[in-house]
């Protein structure tokens, strides 16, 4: 399994992005007033020191994803889900504040819970996890797009179940929902690419 496919790599990506941003942030302490804030702002305080609370949370998330990987590799999906639920229930840094990196970790963790629930064919629990995740990802980010993608796949599975049960109309409706969600996921990721590569996320 490669770096991009492995569950939990979104956390790794966040840590990588933070490291890069911290590097850029260190070098930009004397940036002109009014210039765009560094993306590292959330983990750097006013003096440019790394926010250890956020870094500790990211580290905890990474460890829990790793533990869930082991459980999943062993085929123990309930334990993997329990581990991920520990992450979404963990003490968050700067309670009451909205820290983008923390929200991304939570959205990503809920997406993984949804995927694990889907894998053990509990579609209702999977759908609930997606809803929880979307609450942490209101904007057009990779994490929102990924959650919509997972929700689309859940509806795809639901359509198959209805079809197998001979419920044609229900299957048709679930299929239509799946297509709409997957289409939305594609559009969100397209915006993410546009923003990352400099067109401001047009379209």
């Amino acid at each position: 399994m490669n770096l991009f496919d492995r569950p939990g790599t979104a956390v790794w990506s966040t840590i990588l992005a933070l490291a890069l941003a911290i590097g850029a942030g260190c070098a930009k302490k004397d940036a002109a007033p009014g210039s765009a804030p560094s993306p590292a702002a959330a983990v750097l305080d006013a003096s440019g020191t790394v926010d250890l609370e956020v870094m500790a949370f990211l580290s905890e998330a990474r460890a829990l994803h790793h533990e869930a990987n082991i459980r999943e590799d062993e085929g123990d999906l309930p334990s993997a889900i329990t581990v991920m639920r520990r992450l979404v229930g963990a003490t968050r840094p700067h309670a009451g504040e909205s820290v983008p990196e923390v929200l991304e970790v939570l959205a990503d963790a809920w997406a993984r819970i949804a995927e694990l629930e889907l894998k053990r064919r509990d579609l209702d629990e999977a759908a609930k996890a997606v809803k929880e995740g979307l609450a942490h990802a209101p904007d057009a980010t990779y994490f929102r797009g990924h959650l919509l993608e997972v929700e689309g796949v859940i509806e795809e599975a639901r359509a198959a179940d209805f079809s197998d049960a001979g419920k044609k109309d229900d299957a048709q409706r679930a299929r239509a929902r799946a297509i709409a969600l997957l289409q939305e996921a594609v559009k969100v990721q397209e915006q993410v690419i546009g923003r990352a590569l400099g067109d401001g996320g047009k379209r």
Binding site: L3, F4, D5, A17, L20, A27, Q189, I193, L197, D199
Partner: protein
């Protein structure tokens, strides 16, 4: 893979250290106002031709090196940020590709086929964009416009 992650982790430390260390160094080393190059060193043209113009004096080696060091650090920072952007773009492209695969696997009616084609076109457009800026993507995410959507793995 674990090894990839270890290598990446080492790289991260190096990147952060280099960026922070470099910045601190340049901040603590103000450019020298010296006006002549030492023997054996021809004065180098300043970037943009700005330094030294109007005064008739050539920048010192120290000043030239300081400017070069600043340019190098600036380029390194841009490279670091670009690497992060490409990683984000590749990850999103992989997700687009997967979602389109699921979407197109579900279509039955002509209206739905149109939506599938529209999604595929978006993926092709995104591949062009990512290829132009980033070259390639890791993890088997295709940036070839003509490759099947979704990418065959």
């Amino acid at each position: 893979m674990k090894l990839d992650r270890c290598v990446c982790a080492v790289g991260l430390v190096a990147i952060v250290t280099a960026a922070c260390g470099g910045a601190a160094k340049s901040a603590s080393e103000p450019a020298s106002p010296a006006t002549s190059a030492p023997p054996g060193y021809a004065p180098l043209p300043a970037p943009g031709g700005a330094a030294g113009t109007g005064t008739g004096a050539a920048p010192s080696r120290e000043a030239t090196l300081s400017v070069a060091r600043g340019d190098l650090e600036s380029a390194q920072r841009e490279l670091d940020v670009a690497a992060g952007d490409c990683m984000a773009a590749c990850r999103a492209l992989g997700a687009m590709d997967r979602a389109t695969g699921h979407l197109c696997g579900l279509v039955q009616e002509s209206d739905e086929r149109t939506r599938c084609e529209e999604a595929k076109n978006r993926v092709r457009g995104a591949r062009d964009k990512v290829r132009t800026t980033c070259g390639t993507c890791p993890g088997g995410v295709s940036v070839d416009r003509n490759a099947p959507v979704p990418t065959e793995r």
